[in-house]
Amino acid sequence: MQTAVQFIHEQLTPKKEFPQFKAGDNITVNYKIIEGGKERIQSFRGDVLKVQGVGATATFTVRKISDGVGVERVFPFFSPNVEGIVLNKVGKVRRAKLFYLRERSGKSARIKEKRVK
């Protein structure tokens, strides 16, 4: 089954380049939206809560605080609507899934930045 799925996606899913990121990193996702028949690019900046799945169907979840309200969005890596991803900060975290951030706010919801040598 795996080889068949791989074969299908080699044919149908165009290759895309992304910066390497993981949970805890701060990224900006530029994605296309259609507004009144017109296409434009909107950006969503936040912390990565999780990276899920493998291959062409993998997704990642980004969380940001917008006007005091937590907003989460799930993006498929290979969606044609995801225009580009920018890595802003590399976070220092000890988990692969940061669901504990949902219960936190303010200072305790911050993620320490990893010093890159």
Binding site: M1, A4, V5, I8, H9, L12
Partner: protein, 205 residues
């Protein structure tokens, strides 16, 4: 009607050009050999008998080997009949997935996964009886009353009860062919298909 025998490979999802994610099933369809052509004159009805999948010769009976020899092919594992087909093929010719085109709406027939002996909540969608409290316990998923006592004093036939669930023949209608891969004999259809991975399905149009 057109039809072919296939094997369910598994599911994945692909993106349409407008960015919609479509859940898809991969089916390995064909190539099938025409092992018998039935006509009104000889059999009383029109049908095409197709065979799919290889079988070891030591596992085939002599009757099977000779039946397949008429179509000059080796023994096959699955044999199915498609009535009143519009496929114009003679005995011994192969039917491949090029009888379909991308964008076609097809029906896929398969056997659902066996669920074993199941209660009425899972098997018939009952909502269960009673609450956790108010003197009730131990009967959250029970069927409740199955009929009147003094009248009719019996249980009606066909009353939905617990029992074996699954392994039913199910036809999924209106599945769209997203893509054909003739070099690998793969068909990508939208949506789900009955049965477990590796089970035999019939694809009809």
């Amino acid at each position: 009607m057109k039809g072919i025998i296939g094997k369910k490979i598994g599911m994945t999802s692909v993106f349409s050009p407008d960015g919609k994610q479509i859940a898809c099933t991969i089916i390995e369809a064909g190539p099938c050999v025409v092992t018998q052509v039935k006509t009104v004159d000889t059999d009383g009805y029109n049908a095409l008998q197709l065979a799919f999948g290889d079988k070891k010769e030591k596992n085939a009976t002599k009757a099977e080997i000779n039946h397949f020899a008429k179509a000059s092919t080796a023994a096959k594992r699955f044999v199915k009949e498609f009535r009143d087909t519009t496929i114009e093929k003679a005995l011994g010719e192969t039917v491949t997935l090029d009888i379909f085109a991308e964008g076609d709406k097809v029906e896929v027939v398969g056997t659902t996964k066996g669920k074993g002996f199941q209660g009425v909540v899972k098997r018939h969608g009952f909502s269960g009886v009673g609450e956790g409290s108010h003197g009730q316990h131990d009967r959250q998923r029970a069927p409740g009353s199955i009929g009147g006592s003094s009248y009719p004093s019996r249980v009606f036939k066909g009353m939905r009860m617990a029992g074996r669930m699954g392994t039913d023949r199910v036809k999924m209608k209106g599945l769209k062919i997203v893509k054909l891969f003739p070099e690998k004999n793969y068909i990508l259809v939208s949506g789900s298909v009955p049965g477990h991975n590796g089970s035999i399905v019939l694809i009809q149009k």
